[in-house]
């Protein structure tokens, strides 16, 4: 890097100048700088993945146990006793296909929100683009997602569900879940630095949001046009999308997913700007 700097200086006759001054109002996102710190982002993700299940007996099995046992409980309560409609699918795989992306979203949100406080010391001692922290926390969840996804494939084999060509949409739907999780996380993380209330609020949000999302029931219980408007909750789009892409539910959730994607992008962009606006005080209040 030093040589890089020297080379640049040799080329321009001048070292790069960093200007430090007060900023006002909304600031630029500085995505280029974030890109320059991609190695740090990688190390943050790598650390979170490595550390998450250290000193646990079951280790990475937790990534599977959590959604799996939730699925078992849901199948008993909602599937067997409440007899909630499951679009004609066996209830266990119907709910598990939703719990895998939902767990990814919820864990990412919780980790990213708490991360700003647990890493407060780092915020006070060294500079890096602050957004790298929540991004890394959400990205680290992709590993857990993959493990839980393997079990989902196992369950599809067990129930004899043949994957269709629509399976290729899974990465896109994962990206949608990631964008949603990160968007909400940026908002929550930025507020959490100053107001620790958010730390107590997020578990509630996660709980209520899950029941507001078609995890234990199908979106098809709503008639159109309400079903498409359900896409205002971006996780509804993600989960209906997952069921459609993997399990072949007949409701091709076109308008619903389109709406979800739009809302997710709005959440992410607004969250990013809000985070940037708040981050200048992080070191002072963390």
């Amino acid at each position: 890097m030093l040589t890089e700097v020297q080379a640049r200086r040799a080329a321009t006759g001048e070292a790069p100048v960093l200007r430090i001054e007060p900023s006002r109002g909304w600031s630029a996102l500085r995505l280029r700088e974030l890109w320059e710190y991609r190695e740090l982002l990688f190390f943050f993700v790598w650390r979170d993945v490595k550390v998450r299940y250290k000193q646990t007996v079951l280790g990475a099995a937790w990534a599977i146990l959590q959604p799996f046992f939730t699925m078992v409980v849901f199948s008993l309560i909602f599937g067997r006793y409440a007899k909630i409609d499951s679009d004609g699918l066996p209830y266990p795989i119907f709910s598990y296909a939703a719990l895998v992306p939902w767990t990814f979203f919820a864990t990412g949100l919780q980790q990213a929100t708490a991360g700003m406080v647990t890493h407060a010391n780092m915020l006070k001692k060294v500079y890096f683009p602050r957004m790298a922290l929540p991004i890394a926390k959400v990205l680290a969840g992709v590993v857990d997602f993959s493990l839980a996804f393997v079990v989902l494939i196992g369950m599809m084999l067990y129930y004899g569900i043949v994957p269709t060509i629509n399976t290729v949409w899974v990465p896109v739907l994962l990206l949608l879940a990631l964008v949603t999780s990160l968007g909400v996380s940026l908002w929550m993380a930025a507020i959490n630095v100053r107001y620790r209330d958010v730390g107590y609020l997020v578990p509630f949000i996660v709980q209520f949001w899950m029941y507001a999302t078609p995890v234990v029931y199908p979106a098809s219980i709503f008639p159109e046009p309400w079903r498409s408007l359900y896409g205002l909750n971006p996780m509804a789009g993600v989960i209906e999308g997952f069921r459609w892409a993997l399990l072949g539910t007949d409701t091709a959730p076109g308008p619903l997913i389109g709406l979800s994607a739009g809302v997710a992008v709005v959440l992410l962009v607004s969250g990013a700007f809000y985070f940037r606006r708040m981050e200048r005080t992080f070191a002072d209040v963390a």
Partner: protein, 450 residues
Amino acid sequence: MSHYSIEAVGLGKRYQIVHERNRYETMRDRLAATFTAPFRQAGRLLRGQPAPGAAEEFWALREASFQVRPGEVVGIIGRNGAGKSTLLKILTRITEPSEGHADIRGRVGSLLEVGTGFHPELTGRENVFLNGSILGMRRFEIARRFDEIVAFAEVEKFLDTPVKHYSSGMYMRLAFAVAAHLEPEVLLVDEVLAVGDSAFQKKCLDKMEAVGRDGRTILFVSHNMPAITRLCPRTLLLSGGRIIQDGPSQQVVGTYLSSGLGTTAARVWNDPAQAPGDEVVRLRAVRVRAASGEATDALDIRQPVGIELEYEVLRAGLTLHPHFTLHNDEGVFVFSSFDQDPAWRGQTRPAGRYTSTAWIPGNFLSEGTCIIGAGLLTAPPQVLRFYERDVVAFQVIDSQDEDTARGGLAGRIPGVVRPRLNWQTQFFGANGHAVALPAAAGQPSREASL
């Protein structure tokens, strides 16, 4: 067009101290406010404004302007709360200034703490990469210097052990080793040398010195006056958020110590909770005394100097070893001395207030500023209860009188001590036989009182 490495113009940082409001008149007001508060709060939150209240403004730093040329090593000193760390935090972009601006030319590396981001569950090897990358090193740079870092830290055998199993010494060594191998053009360092044992501190200082010789620009915040004078030719003195002096380190450190801004002839801790020490023993005061018994910060070189430690033993039954260290203003560690009073040697102490005074003989110290650090060990097992550096400082003044070690000579006399020794000179004449001198010449009665 300027070619400074760092150029700060009117930097300032304002904090708001928010006091809890308590001005509700009636229960109804209070209830109403309780219900409307979340909405008002939410509006403010969106605009990114701080919470209201009887906000009081406080400037941690004000109108800080200075320039640093490439390759300069500059110290920053001042009391706690003088604005040193705020200045460094602004320059490292950890926090934004409230006014003014600064330009920094070249790649910036900062070291406000060693081991930032170290994770106890990760191994030494993993932490080197993680910490290096947090400090702004590229992965290939870390890989290239990895062996060097490990050798410096002396932890080769434990590289694949989680650092939570490291001793604190090993941990600090590894953490510093990573930081020491940063290769920025501008390095901003805060008080990181206040850790580790003295051998390691010396190693760190040597490394810092080497970094400085490499032509990097360094800003170095420290309370350690000896380190400042040794590493930095130039020093900024901060007080109350302002730069009050900027000049050669010897001079600035001298101002700091003698102006009452820093250490003085007596330091008393009125609040035991704030005093150095722990539940076993607390330091209460350190004083520099003249032979007459009065506290003083300027002494004639011929006079003995008493260093008095006043402390309170809170838990009885331990053997105590009060001690002090003496550094000169060039940062040289002149000596340390442990309580040798035979009355208490090997004896356990009852709880209560004590003073221990050591007398440094006259005609022993060199002229200039002496900086005292006070410590206390208990045994067995040996535990350092406190060591407070730079607690008091005093000036030793050498007169031009003939009855000093100077002996009436003018000019600078080098050396960290200046004992007046008993010299005897014999004249053997031209033929090799001792010759008695005329009686007036020699009076060997006033030898050094060492």
